[in-house]
Amino acid sequence: MKENNNGSEILLEISAYLTGFEKADLLGTGMLDPYYRYTIKQYVDADDAGTLQSFLMESKVIVEEFGPDEDAVINAVKARFLPYAKFNTLVTQLVTMWYTGEWNGEVISIEGYKQGQAYVQGLIWDAAETHPPGAKQPGYGSWAKEPINSKGNIK
């Protein structure tokens, strides 16, 4: 595991483990940078930047210690983060953000980015082997066949 001190890189690494998607899948949404900035803003605005910082530092440690063994990383996350309300909330928020594009029930909107893009890039639709309603449409008659986008398919 190569040395990594860049916050958004760490966010990417740990998010891949937390969501069960590959890093390239997360990058392919184009949302890493805006999500990183958005997360920081939430915690800075709540005067709680320390929680996020500790989370990222600890995530880096976990990934370096247990990666690339996915189960081991998840077990460490469960042991070191989930028992603590603040970190538990943060983990839930991060996974929800990647999966649905929402933060506390609102679609994330980031300055300079197309409104609603967070919704469109939600990974939950990939997990369901479909697409977000109203976007990434698969074409006439596609619904009468098995889906051809198999990103979420577990074989």
Partner: protein
């Protein structure tokens, strides 16, 4: 323009108003169309309409709750009813006023909404277009329930064909079956386009059902064969080569609207998006029909409005009809008073009057009733605002034994027609059962709720992803859309205490179910249980007051129902002035030059989604108005 007198003044640019405007202008009549919504939504210029529609899309993407009205502007000066505001009625003396528009007096909240803007509620409708069954027109005679219509199915048949052309229905006539569907029901006829392919989910479900041969369920000691039918719907597919018609025209000599036959060179052509004739020629499977079709492959009323003849049509947007004015004798309508505004939210308005020979209200069942009540007219029968109806949608949901991949395709592509008609209708409501293609989204807000449930159980990483994949790809949702019967106490009223920011009344709705509907919930759950058992579906249905405020208890069991958005019956049509608001031409009994159009005219609801029937009725009304005008 202020003093111009039009042949006809129409209120509302939804499907009824647009059909009326198109039909009348194509016959050379001058029309003023008043529309409460924003000007941008009514533009027919390609670039303008495209940009405007993209703002709807963006609003939709960004909405936390993607409810039917979520993409569309809700104006202070012309507010829309929104399902997002539905809540339990606080008490019999304290109505729910959430959302600052519809006042819900209860005892149960009314569960449906509509949109007040260009194109009306067809902007967010699903597009399902079954016809009513012959027996639906004779509920009193056949089953001793409700009222009969003043005419029968056969009288409406040719208007149904016009409506199917106008909307652009995709479907397969030969596959239509179920009670009441005889050979002559459609006759020797094809739909304009081929059927929308039935979803993979439908196929998996049907296969599971048919494993044991014919699927039979028992209800009250009687056996019923469960059948599955591809659903006719107003969205574009492949044009049907056998379809016979291409247009509708006013035959001046015979005083009739006529379907125009296609020829070798002039054939039916489906309507694409309003901004480009090449976009939306096929449904692209966006799976967001409600609330918005991104490519406008689904029909909306703007497509019809666009076909109106420009030189005979003036459209006045941001113009909210507030009252119908009558002469001193109270007989003849002399104008429609409307309020215009600049931005929609500034609460600054001007009051004007529109003048025509004939006046037509097509502002939706609720708004039509409200305007009439506010004007104190057309109500010698005391029926204005009464008999409000909707389909009461009981939902059942479960997990299929194998992956069926919901959340894809149009909202529903298959229905079970088995309980649309039968002797049981003397005891409880009939229903149609669409198979829903969108998982458990409606009752429990899947897939978001599945994610939060899983996270609540500390699932993460591959385990989380696998779990979601396992659950979301197998979700099945069945509808039981039960027919509500007319009840004079289910009604719209007005009260000085409740007005909107520009001084128009806020509608007050009084609403309840009765034994006839509640008994059908009990029956529907019995049927659902048998279907789930046969198809090896793991039942996850659970009803409660918390799940949804439309909750009723019947014989010790609780049931939830949801509104279908089928708002019907507030100014019903009938045989005489004493029992109805309009005559079979949809002209008010009380005022010779005032017509009402829209679902408000329907005496009963049947089990079909009402838009197609209402459109057929509107062609009938347009024909009557053209005759009326030509008499002068």
């Amino acid at each position: 323009m202020k003093d111009k007198e039009y042949d006809v003044v129409i209120v509302g640019s939804g499907i009824s108003g647009s059909i009326m405007a198109k039909t009348l202008t194509q016959a050379g009549k001058s029309v003023l169309l008043l529309e409460a919504g924003l000007t941008a939504g009514a533009t027919m210029k390609s670039n303008g309409s495209y940009y405007n529609y993209m703002t709807y899309m963006e609003t939709f993407f960004n909405a936390a709750a993607k409810v039917p009205n979520s993409p569309y502007p809700n104006l202070k000066d012309a507010p829309s009813i929104d399902v997002i505001n539905i809540e339990t009625i606080p008490s019999p003396t304290e109505p729910s006023t959430k959302g600052d528009y519809l006042v819900q007096a209860g005892p149960l909240p009314f569960g449906s909404d509509n949109w007040r803007g260009p194109g009306g509620t067809t902007m967010h409708w699903l597009g399902t277009t079954p016809r009513m069954l012959p027996n639906d027109f004779q509920m009193k005679t056949k089953y001793g329930v409700g009222v009969d219509w003043p005419f029968g199915y056969d009288d409406l048949k040719r208007y149904y064909e016009m409506a199917e052309l106008e909307i652009g229905v995709s479907g397969n006539v030969k596959e239509q079956k179920g009670p009441g569907v005889t050979k002559s029901y459609y006759g020797d006829y094809d739909f304009p386009m081929e059927k929308i392919p039935q979803s993979y989910l439908d196929q998996v479900f049907m296969k599971e059902m048919k494993k044991g041969g014919d699927s039979v369920v028992k209800l009250d000691g009687k056996k019923y064969k469960i059948e599955f039918v591809s659903t006719p719907q107003g969205r574009n597919s492949i044009p049907c080569p056998e379809y016979q018609y291409r247009d509708i025209t006013w035959d001046k000599r015979r005083k009739k609207l006529q379907l125009v036959r296609s020829t070798a060179t002039e054939k039916y052509k489906q309507s694409g998006a309003i901004w480009s004739p090449n976009v939306g020629l096929r449904c692209e499977g966006n799976a967001s029909c409600v609330p918005i079709c991104p490519v406008q492959a689904k029909y909306n009323a703007l497509k019809t409005l666009r076909k109106a003849v420009g030189e005979y049509l003036d459209i006045k947007t941001q113009a909210v009809a507030s009252r119908v004015l009558v002469d001193k004798k109270g007989k003849k309508v002399t104008g429609i008073e409307y309020k215009t505004f600049d931005t929609g939210d500034d609460v600054i308005y001007n009051t004007r009057v529109a003048k025509g020979k004939i006046y037509v209200l097509g502002a939706s069942a609720i708004e039509n009733a409200k305007i009439l009540l506010a004007s104190g007219i057309a109500n010698s029968s005391d029926q204005v605002g009464r008999n409000l109806m909707d389909h009461l949608v009981l939902l059942t949901w479960g997990l299929l034994p194998k992956k069926a991949y919901p959340y894809r395709g149009p909202g529903s592509t298959t229905n079970i027609p088995t309980f649309r008609d039968g002797a049981f209708r003397s005891k409880h409501a009939a229903w149609i059962s669409p198979v829903d293609n969108w998982g458990w989204a409606w009752p429990v807000f899947s897939p978001g709720s599945d994610l939060s449930d899983a996270l609540g159980k500390d699932m993460l990483g591959k385990e989380l992803k696998n779990h979601l994949n396992h659950v979301l790809t197998r979700q099945l949702l069945l509808h039981f859309e039960c027919e509500q019967t007319p009840d004079p106490n289910n009604r719209i009223t007005i009260d000085e205490a409740y007005k909107d920011p520009i001084g128009n009344y806020r509608p007050i709705v009084h609403y309840n179910t009765n034994e006839y509907m509640n008994k059908s919930f009990e029956a529907a759950v019995k049927v659902s249980n048998q279907i789930f058992e046969e198809a090896n579906i793991e039942d996850h249905t659970s009803y409660s007051q918390e799940l949804d405020p439309d909750y009723v208890e019947y014989k010790g069991k609780g049931y939830n129902f949801w509104g279908a958005g089928h708002i019907v019956g507030t100014h019903r049509m009938g045989t005489k002035p004493s029992n109805s608001v309009v005559n079979p031409d949809q002209r008010t009994w009380d005022h010779d030059n005032l017509y009402l159009i829209g679902c408000g005219n329907m005496p009963t609801l049947g089990t079909s989604n009402p838009t197609l029937t209402m459109s057929a009725l509107t062609f009938k009304a347009a024909e009557a108005i053209l005759k009326h005008l030509d008499k002068k």
